[in-house]
Each structure stands twice: as C-alpha cells, then as structure tokens.
C-alpha cells in the first residue's frame, strides 16, 4: 500500500511535469472530496483556491478560500481568474453557478452520490479535466484495490447490524441520518441496515424514537465527537444515552472528512471501521 502510493506519487509527478505545458494552472476546487482528489493526483500546486470544506491534505488549508461550498459568490470565484473550476454536486447557490457558466470559464460539476462508484467517477473526471489521465488511472486502480480489500475484510466479518446514524447540530440538538444522505451511504457500505432508512435527510431524533428503534450500533461523526469533547460525552447525549447500543458501548466514530466526504481515502477507512465494529460485536460488550 505504501509503496503503491509512492509509485503513484512519482507517476503523478511525471504526469504533472509532462502536462504542465498545456495545462490550466489556475484551478479552483470546491468540495473537500474534489480537492482531495486533486492533491492525490499530485496536481495540488495548480490550485489557486478551494472552499471551506477542503481541509485535507493540510496544504489545502493554506489556499485562498472561496467560502462555504453552498454559499459561493460568482464574482468572488471569478476574481481569482480561474481557467478551470471543479465543483462538487453540493456546490451552490445555483444562481452563482449560472453566472459563472455564463462567462464561459470551464466549470465541471461532479455528481453527488454516496457510493464507491461515484468516487471513482469523480476521480476519473477530475483527472481528465486536469489532463492527468495517467495519474488518474493509477489513483483509480488504487481506490479499487483498497475497496476490494475492504470488501474482502467485510465479507469475512459477515455483519449486518441495524444502525442509527446519530449527529448533532449547532446547539447540540439531535438528528438521525435517513435515506439519501452520506450517512445512508456509509451504512450501505458497511452492510448495515439504517433504522431510520424510511425517512429522507437528517431528521430530528428523540430519545424515545431512538430506544424504540433499538439499533445494534450507533455511528457518530468525528467532528461531532470533537464538539462534545470525547466519545464518552457523546454517548451521554440525552437522545441516545439510554439505548442499549450506547449502554453497551457500541458507538463508533466515522471520520467526518475521510469517510463522510466520499473522497479517495474512503475505502481504507471503511474497512477499518467495519473491522472495529465486528471486533466489538463479537466481543459482546464493546470497545
């Protein structure tokens, strides 16, 4: 895996040098997943700006920021005089995107879907747009390998837990991830069943509903855990504290960037998460 990455890195570097002559070098990337792909392709130095959700790799934090992915300013983005704009499907508002399109600056919008196929598709399109097809092919191969390994690991685990995807917002009020969310995508990937899969979006959650749903495990996002302080405090949240999953410690942390953004590092992280879950469930009384 490490050597694979190194090979890709050197490959990408060659590709980058090779393509420099005819490539765009003022690229704006909007969406943490897209930015991560650009860096993974070794093309990070061509970025002139990213959005506030682009937090990985650390170099991305040092780029100028065009604001929140959903609150873009058309002229703000254009003021960077980009020759290529790569945006995630979550970007908006639509009016700003229309204004940018009207100026003829190439704007490539990725489809938002919470599957590994969508990650591969994003990778291929970003690589094509950056004229880095070879590095793209290598990165795609790497993601596919990681995903096959993850599937192998998970098939030996043979788990199909019922899952509550728990998140907190702003004031600490509780939400449960339903269908058509990244949360559902994660649950599908680990082979679980969403106890609130009949609802769409993130919906308010009460303790009673959580107890009634009685999930085998609860998933929480790492940035929510950081806000709460630690995992212990997160489990004490009134909306889940009395569920049997929380009582037995079957609460697992999903990385908000590595997994929830559905970027290239997802397969490896999913495999690790699934292993952790299996170990805890086999153990009976959790981590």
């Amino acid at each position: 895996m490490k050597s694979g990455l190194a090979a890709i890195a050197s490959f990408a570097l060659t590709a980058a040098i090779f393509s420099q002559a005819f490539a765009q070098d003022r690229v704006v990337s909007v969406g943490g997943d897209i930015t991560e792909i650009v860096y993974a392709l070794g093309e990070g130095d061509r970025l002139s700006a990213t959005d506030s959700t682009s937090v990985y790799p650390p170099e991305a934090l040092a780029t100028p920021k065009v604001g929140y992915v959903r609150q873009l300013s058309a002229e703000g983005v254009l003021s960077l005089e980009p020759d290529l704009i790569l945006i995630s499907g979550a970007a908006g508002p639509p009016e700003a995107l229309d204004q940018v399109r009207a100026t003829g600056v190439p704007l490539i919008e990725m489809r938002t879907a919470y599957t590994v196929e969508a990650i591969l598709e994003k990778t291929r399109r970003v690589a094509d747009a950056l004229n880095a097809s070879e590095a793209g092919a290598a990165l795609i191969a790497d993601i596919e390998t990681d995903w096959r390994n993850a599937q192998d690991t998970m098939s030996t685990l043979g788990i199909a837990p019922s899952v509550l995807f728990f998140s907190t917002v702003g004031d600490g009020s509780a939400r449960a991830g339903g269908d058509e969310t990244a949360a559902q995508g994660v649950i599908d990937l680990i082979g679980g069943v969403n106890v609130f899969g009949d609802r769409t979006g993130y919906k308010d959650l009460s303790l009673e509903a959580a107890i009634a749903a009685d999930p085998d495990i609860i998933l929480v996002m790492s940035h929510n855990v950081a806000q709460a302080g630690d995992l212990e405090k997160m489990m004490d949240h009134p909306a889940i504290s009395l569920t049997s999953a929380a009582q037995s410690g079957h609460v697992f942390v999903v990385d908000s960037v590595q997994i929830m953004q559905f970027g290239p590092r997802l397969p490896a992280a999913i495999s690790k998460l699934a292993t952790e879950i299996e170990a805890a469930l086999a153990d009976g009384d959790g981590a």
């Binding site: 700006a49 506030s52 100028p64 920021k65 065009v66 604001g67 929140y68 959903r70 609150q71 873009l72 300013s73 058309a74 002229e75 703000g76 983005v77 254009l78 003021s79 960077l80 005089e81 979550a90 908006g92 508002p93 639509p94 009016e95 700003a96 229309d98 204004q99 009207a102 100026t103 003829g104 600056v105 058509e180 969310t181 769409t200 979006g201 919906k203 308010d204």
Partner: protein, 366 residues
Amino acid sequence: MALNAKAGETLAGLGAARARRGRQIVLGASALALIGMLLGVLIGPLSIEIADILAVIGQNLGLGEAEHITRVKEGVIENIRIPRVLLGALVGASLGVAGAAMQGFFRNPLADPGLIGVSSGGALAAIAVIVLGGAALRPVTLLLGPFALPLAAFGGAFATVVLIYRAASLDGRVVVATMLLAGVAANAFAFSGIGYLTFLADDAQLRDLTFWTLGSLGGAVWERVLPAAGLMIISIIGILTLARPMNGLLLGEADASTLGVDVEKVKRRAAFLTALGVGAATSVCGIINFVGLVVPHLVRLATGPDHRYVLPGSALLGAALVLFSDLVARMAVTPAELPLGVVTAAIGAPFFFWLLLKDKRRERLG
C-alpha cells in the same frame, strides 16, 4: 416647540424652510443612490478597468463594439454587477418606501415590515413555494411560472399586514402595544412554518433556503430579477402617489375624512402596495432587516413628517443603504461573500440605538 403670538408667520416660514430642506434631502439621497449604483458597477472582487466597463455598457447600448474585452469581464459586468446593482437599488427603494408607508399607515414609527412580521410572512409563503413547488403546490408554480415566488411572497406579506392591522386597530386607532405583540405572534408563527418546511425540505432545497434566509443579492440573475423588479416598481410608484392622502392620515382618521380623504381606500392601497413591494423584495433576496425601520426614521428626522419628502427620500436612501451595504458584503471577505442581511443589521442596529439615545437626551433637555 413653543408657539408664540406670531405663530402664523413663523409657521409659514417654517413650512417654506421645511419644503426647501425636504427637497435638499431628496436631492442628496438621489445623489447617494446614484453614487451607490456607480460604485456597485465599478467595484468588485475582480478588478476591471473603468474604460472596459464603459465599453461594455456602451456595447449594450449599441454604441460600438467592445471586442478587446475578455468574456469573463464582460460576463461579470453584464450578468453579475449590473443586475445586482439594479436589484439592490430596487430592493432598497422598496423596503425604504414600504417602511415609510407602513409607519404612516399604522401612524407609528415602530411599524417596520421586519418587526411586525410582514417580511417573515412573505418569507414563509416563498419558502412554501420552494419546498412544496414540486409537489403539493405544483399547479401554482406551473400557472405562475417565474412570478410564483414573488407573488407567493406578496400573498404571505399581504395576509400578515391585514392580520396585524385587524388585530391592532380599535375604532380607527392603532393600539401600538397590540400591534407589536401581534407582530411577535406573526413572526413566531411564520418561523414555526419556516422551521417545519425546513424539516420537510430535501438537500437541494435546503441549499436554496440557507442562501435565502440570510438575505443576499447574490441571486441576482436576470431571469429572477425581472419579474420581481416589475412588481417592486409598481409598488414604489404606487406608494409615492399616496403622499398627499397619507399626509391627511397624519391628522388622525376622523380629521382626514373631513378633509375629503377616503381613509379606508388609502389604507387598503397602502397595505396592498407595501405587501407587494416587501413580498417581491423578500422573494429575490431573502429577509433584509432594518432598511424599512432605519431609513424612514432618518429621512423624517431631516425633513419632518411631510410624506411628499419622506416617501421619495426613504426610497432613495433605502436604495443607497442597500447598495453600500452590498459593497461591504462583496468586498469584506473576498473571494467569499458575506450575507447582505448581516451587513444591513450591523449598520442599522447600532444606528437605531444611537437614534434612540439621542431622542432620549433631547427629551430630557427639552
């Protein structure tokens, strides 16, 4: 103000001085609004030479070609800055003049469209169209096309004005405490509705809502600007023609009717036109507070209560306030952008405080 034996003379002199002052204020406000529009076109995150801007504008007016200018700069001027400045001016003028009209009509300086729930009533209806437009309200959106959003917002705003007025008026007088409390209730109801619709909204709709509840001119694309602009222009002109009868209303409804003012008609028109302007403005740029409250206050402070000056002055100063606030919104955190509502509130709220403190001091001295 003490009036002595020579009251008649003094009053006549005062009247002439007031009229002169009123005209000066209106002229000054026009100048400010014009400067705001010019700066709005000239300044932006992307630096563009003034000559290039003039060339693009000239080209649009059919005065020669602007071939040497890049498509990006042309697009920024034609599709971003100009619609945005026009929208800003119209929204500011609508909110300013609607605030002034509402204060005249409720005969109370606290009757601000935001404060008494008219803006949020409009917002609730508009959000209902965004969230339910594809489902339950589909016939409405199909029937009205691009007008669905501004007209729905107007409907919500109008219903709120009528409701508040019904609740607060007693024998032709407006009970201020009741008006404010009814406003609190209207705001609370509207926000519970907005909250429920947010709960129903899917991810893409939520994206529209956040953009929209913070107040911004960022959505100024021609297709959205034009329908709302038509409605706002009708509202602004309509309210301006009400200046004289509204002056009559200042004397109280009984006196106004003896002067030949059809009180009910004036009130109905004022309510209708205010709701139309506030609704249309809200539907394109979300809830922008304080413009309708601060601007008429300022103008009245300078011109006195005569609506022939207060109304146009409020429209023009409102436009200027929104345009300058939008400059700040665009330039403060480039290449990102602040929500406009944040800027108007940040300018408006301290200013309003200052006004209140000043009034208090004057009362103590007087």
